[in-house]
Symmetry: C2
Subunit: 111 residues, 2 copies
DNA sequence: CGAGTATATACGGGGTGGGGTATATACGGG
DNA sequence: CCCGTATATACCCCACCCCGTATATACTCG
């Protein structure tokens, strides 16, 4: 798994992250709430941990997982390149795109 | 391809989107700038278009592609669930996480 | 219309990721 | 210690994605 984007491409992993967004959880809690098999949860958590999306602490026999924000922050940084497309100046942008789309063609071309 | 996240999981597709972020481009321009084969570019553009990330207009024999922000906006919305982890109140959050991380067995460690 | 250019699709192959089952490892309590 | 619980890993299999090559389609212009 070589990129953060591939990590969050998997729906179950996104579900795990969303679940952990509210609070930390043990493997079993994740398993029950998301109705996934235990090995599946463990494997996804392995991927998430290796990529730095989560970290675990030990609580008796349990491993409690919680979010680590860094990789998500990196995704956010990538997105920021595009954010001007919708965040502000939307109307001006739309007008701009429309204008580009109707650029006058040099050769008279029917449409 | 059933989710926006899978679409942007592919590095070449992210490269295409990043390229189109600055301005619209023909297939050939993308092909040359990113050193990808023409069929590969066309196929990735197909995926991007089907998912709504780009749209094309016709310019003589060329197809000129440009960004459509909606799917990226959706990704941004998903991310917003996690943004409080790093955007503001960072210090309070870090203290909170550190406190949680304190294991009952007095193995205090700092990053 | 025919040639040339630009883009899209068909097809086959190789690599990989995710699921399930079975098993291994860690840990705590009695 | 030993047992039960909690979690991690091994292994196999299947589906799917991406690539390259070859071919088809679209459009323009002479």
């Amino acid at each position: 798994m070589d990129s953060n984007f591939e990590v969050i491409a998997e729906p179950n992993r996104r579900a795990i992250l969303s679940l952990l967004a509210s609070s930390e959880r043990s493997v079993q809690e994740i398993e029950q709430r998301l109705r996934m098999s235990q090995p599946s949860v463990s494997k996804h958590l392995r991927v998430l941990r290796d990529a730095g999306f989560v970290q675990s602490r030990v609580d008796a026999q349990r491993r409690v997982y919680r979010i680590r924000p860094e990789p998500l922050k990196e995704v956010d940084v990538w997105l920021s390149t595009f954010r001007h497309f919708w965040s502000t100046h939307v109307d001006a942008l739309e007008r701009h795109l429309d204008r580009i789309a109707q650029e006058p063609r040099g050769k008279g071309k029917k449409r």
